[in-house]
């Protein structure tokens, strides 16, 4: 998809006044954090596991070339195929080639953020292949021609009424008299429609939560079972994965799996964790004849060893989105591309450029809640600050803001002048605000007073009062 991250402020304003979105976000804002808190309270080792998770991912990244080569060798040895893709276009082309090689006309897709990242659906459709999203949330937004607004709950911006309208518009054979008032009925409708699609699909495409170097396996984690039907019914299973999904062993994956569900949905464990290794074996009665893995770089290797290296630990659990007060205010679409919230604010500038996505790392209060819940301890605020540093160094931030900042910083490095100016400002503002104690509007502070009053200073600065007290001999020095 074309990014609209440049329009973040306008996107955000639209989200803030969208009553449906605000109702939906209201549910998410309290629900996810409460469930996560309950889950981790039951696991005394959770904090220690976070540290282990961080260590496992750091170890893998430090030896990523080695583990990728080992992984590739085992995949081939177990009868699978590995395709390397430098960028989105290469990944799309590899998928299309595989689909064409088996004459595919329909593709069943499990949820994959990498597929969103490379805009796979549009590409397949352009070439006459019909992709069907099978995750319920993804299916809903596919019908609505919308991008996902959340990395694990793609339709979180909708309420059940919008889903019902969407199904009525898209499902031609749906009896108008049938009720779609409740989530239960909506799930049944989707199940009924999608089951034959699974059975008819020529190719199944899934993402991967982990790739295992030891066994050449890919692991997906789902609750619906759609990722499983997508890979065991069609003749071909294609796995789309970023190169950073690798971990060394099944034991390492077990540690990260203990972190993943609890951080994501607050579940003890997701319903289905599926380990796939190669195509069906001789004697197997089901499973795919072909197994392909597409390893996508698309800017990831360029992050290694730099300021954004730690971002490659990301498990895509969405805990940072679920705990972000900015995400909770504006929703995922405001971020204007595939990855929203704090992880998106770090990743998006790396993948689509700082000029396009410069707003995202700025739209944070640095409240630090994201880092505090990240299962692999990614220092997200620090990395957003690194983007701001690049933006400042490249002169991309607004000119008025930069010159104001420089002027303030110049003053702040001259204490005498600064104290004199502060004393003057305090006196002036204090005098004007002496009655009401606040200002409803103030020149040069419209960003503040647009939405809230500005409390008036008390009048004298602390430094001037303290100096007076010292002169009167009332102090300790």
């Amino acid at each position: 998809m074309q990014p609209t991250s440049r329009d973040f402020p306008a996107n955000a304003r639209a989200g803030l006044v969208d009553p449906v979105l605000q109702r939906a976000l209201g549910l998410a804002r309290t629900g996810f954090p409460a469930r996560r808190q309950q889950a981790i309270a039951r696991l005394p080792e959770f904090e220690a596991l976070r540290e282990e998770g961080r260590r496992i991912k750091d170890h893998t990244l430090a030896n990523l070339d080695f583990y990728l080569e080992r992984y590739e060798a085992v995949v081939i040895a177990t009868g699978g195929h590995v395709h390397w893709a430098r960028d989105a276009a290469e990944a799309r082309d590899r998928v299309l080639e595989i689909c064409r090689s088996v004459g595919a006309t329909t593709v069943a897709k499990g949820k994959s953020m990498v597929a969103e990242e490379i805009a796979l659906n549009e590409h397949l459709e352009r070439h006459g292949i019909a992709p069907v999203e099978t995750d319920l949330g993804e299916y809903i937004i596919q019908l609505r021609h919308e991008p996902p607004s959340h990395i694990i709950a793609p339709a979180i911006h909708l309420m059940k009424e919008q889903v019902a309208d969407t199904f009525r518009a898209a499902h031609q054979e749906l009896d108008p008299a049938r009720s779609l008032a409740e989530p239960r009925q909506l799930c049944e409708e989707a199940r009924t429609i999608l089951r034959p699609r699974f059975l008819a699909a020529d190719v199944g495409i899934t993402g991967a939560n982990f790739l295992i170097a030891e066994t050449g396996s890919s692991i997906i984690v789902t609750n619906e079972g759609n990722g499983d039907l997508s890979q065991i019914l069609p003749r071909v299973h294609i796995v789309l994965a970023g190169i950073e999904k690798l971990v060394p062993t099944l034991e390492d994956a077990a540690t990260l799996l203990r972190l993943l569900a609890r951080s994501a949905t607050g579940q003890e464990f997701s319903t289905y964790t599926t380990v796939s290794t190669g195509p069906r074996r001789p004697g197997d009665r089901d499973g795919p004849d072909e197994y392909h893995v597409i390893l996508l770089d698309n800017g990831r290797s360029a992050l290694l060893g730099g300021e954004f290296h730690d971002m490659l630990r990301c498990l895509r659990c969405a805990a940072c989105l679920n705990h972000c007060p900015v995400y909770a205010a504006v929703g995922g679409h405001a971020y204007g591309w595939v990855y929203p919230g704090p992880m998106g604010a770090v990743l998006t500038p790396a993948l689509v450029g700082l000029r396009e996505a410069g707003h995202l790392p700025n739209a944070s209060t640095f409240c630090g809640r994201c880092e505090s819940v990240c299962p692999v301890k990614i220092p997200l605020p620090n990395m957003m600050r690194h983007w701001r540093e690049r933006e400042f160094a490249q002169g991309l931030s607004p000119r008025a803001y930069r010159s104001g900042l420089r002027a303030w910083a110049w003053m702040a490095q001259r204490p005498r002048l600064y104290h004199a100016a502060a004393a003057l400002a305090g006196r002036g503002l204090g005098w004007f605000g002496r009655d009401r104690g606040r200002f409803r509007s103030l020149p040069l502070a419209s960003g503040w007073t647009l939405v809230r009053d500005m409390p008036a200073p008390e009048g004298r600065t602390f430094q001037s009062l303290w100096a007076e007290r010292q002169r009167a001999g009332g102090g300790t020095r």
Binding site: A12, L16, P325, V326, A329, V330, N362, A363, S364, T365, F366, C367, G368, R369, E371, N382, R385, R388, R390, E391, F392, S397, Y401, L405, A409, M411, A412, Q413, P415, Y418, H419, A422, A425, G426, R434, D435, G437, R438, R440, A445, G447, W448, L450, V451, R452, D453, M454, P455, A456, P457, E458, R460, T461, F462, Q463, L465, W466, A467, T476, R477
Partner: protein, 256 residues
């Protein structure tokens, strides 16, 4: 007068307290003196440099940090009535000078001596109660930097519990950001508005007559929003209440 052996504490006033609310500075001084400290206020301080640092202006942030490191070189402790500014010194100064070994060592030395006011009083000086009286139903907002960078959570509550007449009514979202975020609140005013609007609604729902916090940035934001919405709640820095210095009008309250 403090004992000759009293620890020498340099007060990091913070630019917002200096300009907007000197009362908080004097409340901090009073609490520190009650905790047996000799308090001084270096004149060579202005701001901790956070606005520059968080705006990506690393050069100016470092220049200001150098000034702070020099100004506070000679104190046993450096205490700020703000988790945000204390966190800047304690957590971020060493990172700022990561590639300058000499400055890094000085920054780390300062970091080990620097404390947020409440955690200093409780964790370092062992203060467990105050002699103040304030008959109010109040709620407490956990300012983000103090909470997540410095672990300030129980300390203010421990001391508030000893204030005669004070009843603490907790908000379920006490740990959720108020939407201040330094320059964030003016760069993205509508988003900030939504966040502080939610905070104001929680304060109103708590039934509290007063809202307290340990960071003036958040307090200015919250007081400004409550005032704009016409929600009557007294907004004060927690130090004012603990020091028994609640005679001055509250933040954003009329003064005549």
């Amino acid at each position: 007068m403090p004992e000759p052996s009293a620890p020498r504490v340099g007060l990091l006033v913070t630019c917002l307290v200096d300009l907007f609310r000197p009362s908080v500075g004097f409340a901090a001084v009073a609490l520190l003196e009650r905790a047996g400290c000799a308090v001084a206020v270096p004149q060579a301080q202005t701001c901790c440099g956070q606005p520059a640092y968080n705006s990506g202006d690393r050069g100016d942030a470092k220049a200001i940090a150098r000034q702070v490191i020099a100004a506070f070189a000679d104190y046993d402790y450096v205490v700020a009535p703000s988790g945000s500014c204390a966190g800047m010194v304690k957590v971020h100064y060493p990172q700022l000078f990561a590639d300058e070994p000499d400055m890094r060592a000085r920054a780390e030395d300062l970091a080990t001596r620097t404390w947020e006011l409440l955690s200093f009083l409780v964790d370092v000086r062992g203060m467990s109660e105050v002699a103040a009286r304030w008959t109010k139903r109040a709620t407490y907002h956990d300012a983000c930097s103090g909470l997540r960078e410095l672990g300030v959570k129980e300390q203010p509550r421990r001391l508030l519990a000893s204030v005669h007449g004070l009843c603490l009514a907790e908000m379920p979202g006490a740990e959720v950001c108020c939407g201040f975020g330094g320059t964030f609140c003016v760069k993205y005013p509508e988003i900030s508005d939504k966040m502080v609007g939610d905070k104001a609604a929680e304060i109103a729902a708590s039934g509290a007559e007063a809202v307290l916090a340990g960071d003036l940035g958040c307090l200015l934001n919250i007081a400004g929003k409550l005032s704009r919405l016409g929600i009557r709640a007294e907004v004060r820095h927690v130090a004012e209440v603990l020091a028994g210095m609640t005679d001055a009008p509250a933040i954003a309250a009329p003064r005549r």
